[in-house]
Amino acid sequence: MSAPALLDRSITDLAGALSRREVSSEEVTRAALARIEATDERLHAFLRVVPERAIASARGSDARRARGEVRSPLDGIPIGLKDIFLTKGVETTCGSRILAGFVPPFDATVVERLETSGAVVMGKLNMDEFAMGSSNENSAFGPCRNPWDLERTPGGSSGGSAASVAARQVFGALGTDTGGSIRQPASLCGVVGLKPTYGRVSRYGVVAFASSLDQVGPIARTVTDAAAMLGVIAGHDPRDQTSSLLPVPDYRAGIEEGARGLRIGVPREWLQGGSEAGVERRVREALAAYEAMGATLVDVELPHSRYGVAAYYLVAPAEASSNLARYDGVRFGLRAPARSLADMYGETRDQGFGAEPKRRIMLGTYALSAGYYDAYYLRAQKVRTLVRRDFDRAFERCDLVAGPVSPTVAFRLGEKVDDPLQMYLADVFTISCNLAALPGLSVPAGLHPESRLPVGLQLVGRPFDEATLLRAARALEREMGPSPAPEAIG
């Protein structure tokens, strides 16, 4: 059974239908709930569905609309949340056993903003534990699967978010991206994923992985939908002092302006055979399409991006080792029974954390240790500065940079689980953008010629210039026509 046409619509379309009263939010929400019910046993995108809360929000939206009040383009639209976002009264696990049973007393700022704008929260989506992973296989509650091929991963860590959006369970979802965790699953599931500039969206109420890299962003089926979602969640939050005071533009305003006149930087380091041939082919075709639309391709160099993965795997684990220290079994989540306090800490952490968080806690603790700090953490921070300078230099000659998102299409479940280094390399193209705090976007660039699995094109922009990324992505989307729906999930 394929998804009903209603669920196949974009947010923008559906908002129109809702305002014309062709359909109610409650009907849409019930259809989405039914779709989740019908598909999620196989997909496993959701860790928790909140039907009562969803129906109540949908009715609220319908009641407002009956009074002629519409709060935003998301009013009445079913949206999913990665389980990293704190939801008041709804268990939030971050994909980890150590947070099992944790029911937050408040909503994350972005959840508050979504609900205030009328969005209908459907539930909490599967993810790699503490957002550490690129395949969703690190979820303590079993992996989510790729709706294009259920034997493959949806990518990660926001795999549940991308899979759910692709499978037409929800119209959009929020994810987080620390090293590629929005863009890579979006690419592998054939949807649009945007990691905004660091500081564009509040991190308050988002379980921290690597605080200087984490950023919240939308995953949607169209570029315009992603723009609409970003408009709702972006902006300064006094509770997050790293959030920017810059005003939030209307991201949909110039989105149809096309690619003409854009200078697109093509980093030679990103197209040197580091990707599968089929991926590289689709990326080159997308670049050619831009040229055909009137954009100029410019060769640029990002010489330090080759150190990106190494620097990332020092900075991110270092911050994670500190961020994860609070999970001690005392105040929330899992508490393993034990005779002494020290044993309780040890047992709780041993049982509560999976292999990947443990690995990163150890890596990070080591990198910050006395005598190693300068050689590792400090050196890695210097690499960040160099990576950023590469981009600054590139942006003197171009408006945005384009390349692959992931070196491969969706890989098979189990294919890389035993080889963490291989898994880490899945983020080789996405990590620089986080290190440099820049906005990055993944937009569908067609299907792989042999495997018929989605390939994404990555666009990286100047700080706080999400608008240009969205405009360029929309131009390609229009050129390629609507992306097909995945068939494997039915």
């Binding site: 944790f102 007393p105 921290a208 006094p238 790293t242 609070r326």
Partner: protein, 483 residues
């Protein structure tokens, strides 16, 4: 201390700031309260929370730094100090490390008439931890109270410039008085809002090479600080004299035994794995803000005491008493102003404030408060005294009334009939009556028993119900007795 060893001390002070809310959240900083009632997700260290820096904390740090002559850093950076302890909810303390807000500066002391300066290394901002509570639950289990977690602290670190126990105590007292004057700290050692760790070492007299130090903790009074260092000097000198080596370690002072004992050695010391706090941007203190704070600084105790001695000819002792706390100093200044200046009046005001008024406050358990007495009223009392309207016992009664009820001293004097009688004819009548009533004593006085004058004066005063002006009574009696 023995003859061979020179004591070297550096002090680290943790002072809780008197802000209304905590350093990174809106919870109140009030002391006490049922455990875990002044808490929120932020100071509980829940997943997903972020710190939002309280601007008042920065202002207090700048104020303190300026008062202590530090260089205020235009940019300073918070860092995470990582360690596991049950009272530390996040598993790290947000503090400052490589780039603190204040650098350098010092505290000037006078010790046995000698001027000394103890230099400061740095001052930084950080959050306090919670408190472990043992044996409070019915089942004997321990608990953690996080009311204090996130209360703002300044850590004030001195150079190892202190060379005697007296100097250590004097440094701590001076620093405490300055912080209290600035209104940034309440100076309460017992409740732990003003805490001190001491780094103590010995080196051979004449040496410039510092010995191995021990860090002493848990001294919550000046007396305990003294005891702890005394014990440590004995302990370390015994080790050194026995040819041994002092082991670098942290030692806990036990107030019951007056001893320090090993808490953890250098090998067991934490590796705090400091790194810049990614959740907080660097703290920027623009020059204009620093100047604004500088202009609002109060006159500090030493400068004030010097002024009292210079301009008002007060003794160093009185000047010290009056500048022991800001309330007293401000009250004194206001009273002198209300009286209209003059060293003589100032001396009288100082005597009343440090004498009678302090006694009244003490009896009432009012601390440094002065009840309902105002500086204007105190100035009025002095004015009445100087005019001869008020004398000893009257002053005491008026002050008591003003302390309890407030009001205008002239009105109190009039309504309670406390005015001194200086009228010659009234005094003369009373004197005559006494001379008549005690002919024997008059006889003996005239025969040379001059000390009987006091008795006769006393009798006159008694006859006048204590209201006679003693000077007038004295003069009158002497005249009548032909003395």
């Amino acid at each position: 201390m023995t003859r061979e060893w020179q004591l070297v001390v550096g002090l680290e002070v943790h002072a809780q700031l008197l802000t209304r809310s905590k350093i990174f959240c809106g919870c109140p900083t009030t002391f006490g309260g049922e455990p875990n009632t002044h808490v929120c997700p932020v100071c509980l260290g829940m997943p997903g929370v972020l710190p939002a820096l309280n601007r008042q904390v920065v202002e207090f740090a700048v104020r303190t730094g300026l008062a202590l002559g530090c260089a205020i850093q235009e940019k300073s950076v918070f860092a995470r100090k990582n360690y596991f302890y049950p009272d530390l909810p996040k598993g790290y303390q947000v503090s400052q490390y490589e780039l603190p807000i204040c650098v350098g500066g010092g505290v000037d002391l006078t010790l046995d008439g000698v001027e000394r300066r103890v230099r400061l290394t740095r001052i930084h901002m950080e959050e306090d931890a919670g408190k472990n509570l043992h044996g409070v639950a019915a089942d004997g289990s321990s608990g953690v109270d996080l009311n204090r977690a996130g209360v703002p602290l300044l850590e004030i670190v001195s150079e190892p410039d202190i060379r005697s126990i007296d100097e250590a105590v004097e440094y701590l007292k001076s620093l405490r008085a300055i912080l209290m004057f600035l209104g940034v700290n309440d100076g309460n050692l017992e409740e732990g809002s003003f805490r001190c760790d001491a780094n103590v070492s010995l080196m051979p007299v004449g040496s410039t090479v510092l010995g191995t130090r021990c860090e002493l903790k848990n001294m919550n009074s000046f007396r305990f600080l003294r005891q702890a260092i005394e014990f440590e000097v004995r302990r370390q000198s015994e080790i050194l004299e026995g040819g041994g080596r002092v082991v670098q370690e942290t030692r806990l002072f036990d107030p019951q035994r007056g001893e320090t004992r090993s808490m953890r050695s250098k090998e067991e010391a934490h590796d705090y794995r400091y790194f810049p706090e990614p959740d907080l941007p660097p703290v920027r203190v623009p020059a204009a803000w620093i100047e604004e704070v500088r202009r609002s600084l109060p006159e500090l105790p030493r400068a004030r005491a010097a002024r009292y001695q210079r301009d008002l000819s007060l003794s160093a002792y009185d000047a010290g008493l009056l500048t022991a706390d800001r309330e007293t100093a401000e009250f004194f200044d206001a009273s002198v102003r209300a009286r209209g200046g003059g060293a003589e009046s100032a001396k009288r005001i100082a005597n009343l404030l440090t004498g009678e008024v302090a006694r009244l406050a003490n009896d009432a358990g009012a601390g440094t408060s002065r009840g309902k007495l105002t500086p204007e009223a105190l100035a009025g009392v002095v004015r009445l005294t100087e005019a001869g309207t008020l004398g000893g016992p009257g002053i005491r009664q008026v002050l008591e009334e003003l302390f309890r009820q407030g009001g205008d001293p002239a009105v109190v004097v009039a309504s309670r009939g406390l005015a001194q009688v200086s009228d010659e004819s009234a005094v003369e009548g009373a004197c005559d009556a006494v001379l008549t009533a005690f002919p024997g004593e008059v006889e003996r006085f005239r025969a040379g028993e001059s000390k009987l004058l006091g008795f006769l004066v006393g009798q006159v005063m008694k006859g006048m119900k204590g209201k006679g002006n003693p000077a007038v009574v004295n003069a009158m009696l002497k005249r009548k007795l032909g003395a």
